[in-house]
Amino acid sequence: MENLSVSQLAAGLDHGEFSSVELTRHFLHRMQAHGELNAFITEMDESAIVQARRADQLIKEKKHGPLTGIPLAHKDIFCMDGTRTSCGSRMLDQFVAPYDATVVQKLGQAGCVVLGKTNMDEFAMGSSNENSYFGPVKNPWNPGHVPGGSSGGSAAAVAARLVPLATGTDTGGSIRQPAALCGITGLKPTYGRVSRYGMIAYASSLDQAGPLAKSAQDCAYLLQAMAGFDSRDSTSMDEPVPAYTQALDQPLQGRVIGIPDEYFGAGLKPEVQDIMAQAIDWAEGQGCIIQPIRLPNTELAIPAYYVIATAECSSNLSRFDGIRFGHRCKAPKDLHDLYRRSRSEGFGTEVKRRIMIGTYALSAGYYDAYYLKAQQIRRLISTDFSKAFETVDFILGPTAPEPAFRIGEKTDDPVTMYLSDIYTISVNLAGLPAISVPCGMHEGLPVGMQLIGNYLTEDRLLNFAHQYQLATDWHRQCPPGFAQGSVDE
């Protein structure tokens, strides 16, 4: 059951081969049997069964859609009415959200069954899931390695077949990088395509929610239900949502694919480069035109990102004051002591570090040298992309410079950790959509390729990824120990 696609699961439900309650129990059982991955912060078995019963009733009455009764997990960054929403932080350890995020609401209306909330780097700040208050997530392919981050719990849960679908958010690569490191498919939509309402903010001009699943086709189903205009998000795009699942079968003949020099430079592991070469060969075999391009400001994207993201985070996280919600210190001496100790106790090391950098960058006398400069670099990066898209349809390269690294390997040096996002970060600065697709293995760990498209071309990205997945089976690989029969059922 756990290896079936969303459309196969829907067909099974439709034909009465199994009920949503049975499906839900099956995945809840797998979740509980694989607690060692630490992929979940909150398991929601009771409410899931209630939702599954409701879904079964809708299916019986023929009032169902393509996702009715399909189990899924939400990254613990999405507010869910009446449910603890921790954002991976001690600050929100006891926080029960008083309303639903738009994404949660839309997927609830689509009939999805929520199995739980997934583990993540605290406030989505991290590339390895080691920054969670609830402990690191393990990579299902090798428990000594990280799953990537910050949507590491969602990626690990999908890769280990604990859940067929999961939501994630991507501020600098937080959907694509864990998808690559766990061997699954993850899409970061165009900025504004999916509502940010009820999604706990990290860096608001970069944050975007998207789907994680085994395949591009499954991502298409999930994105279809997530995307769309929302008046409650002031940066939501008021553009029609195309039928993503209907665009999957177009031929790729004649599509122009740009290969940026800068994505194949010194930092890239040679074995990953070889795997990319095979993917490029495949695209050429499909009649795509391969064209070298330049994105000259790529290297500057990381420093620009770390100024912009930390500046926005220092402002966004000022709402955590120990007064209205979240952690409050014991016996505060005065108001100032209440703010300082509540925040210092509630936030973890990396979050505090980023608040400090952001505060510095925005402070009097330094604004022009850091924040303004970073915004100008952001413009250059965005212009590089728009120039490239004058002649190409897609930009293709690796999602990450290497497969999953070991837990603890990069925790001592924040700059080394930041560099693992080199290929994903510029996409957020420009606000473009991009997808990560599994395309090979190295030493037992998955490698992902990233395909970047122009604004609102999610349909074309999914189309390319689906065609690739029809021809290859990297997305079908299941980590050993999680394949059928490995769980006592």
């Binding site: 029960v96 500057l300 505090k352 400090m356």
Partner: protein, 95 residues
């Protein structure tokens, strides 16, 4: 680029974070390193470049001046650390 202990304490005050002396030394080292690395942005001349604050150069939408939110004070205060008679409680501010 080197950040002094004094600067760290000033930033921690602005950020409303409590930092002890040992942590301040660690922050000074970390922040100096990160900011030195960020300086590579200066390789590029950006004098003529218009800063980009947001990926979509859009105008803020306006909506009709109509009440859409209902009063949910009670619900929202159930998650507050300390409240009394509909008010949020904080330590005494004025003696």
């Amino acid at each position: 680029m080197s950040i002094s202990l004094e600067e760290v304490l000033n930033i921690s005050h602005l950020a409303r974070l409590h930092v002890d002396e040992e942590q301040a030394r660690q922050y000074a080292a970390d922040l100096s390193k990160i900011l030195a690395w960020v300086q590579q942005m200066n390789q590029v001349d950006t004098r003529e470049v218009v800063p980009m604050a947001h990926p979509l150069d859009v105008v803020q939408r306006l909506r009709e001046d109509k009440v859409t939110e209902t009063d949910q004070r009670e619900k929202f205060q159930t998650i507050a650390p300390r409240t009394d008679k509909g008010l949020y409680l904080v330590p005494k501010v004025i003696e």
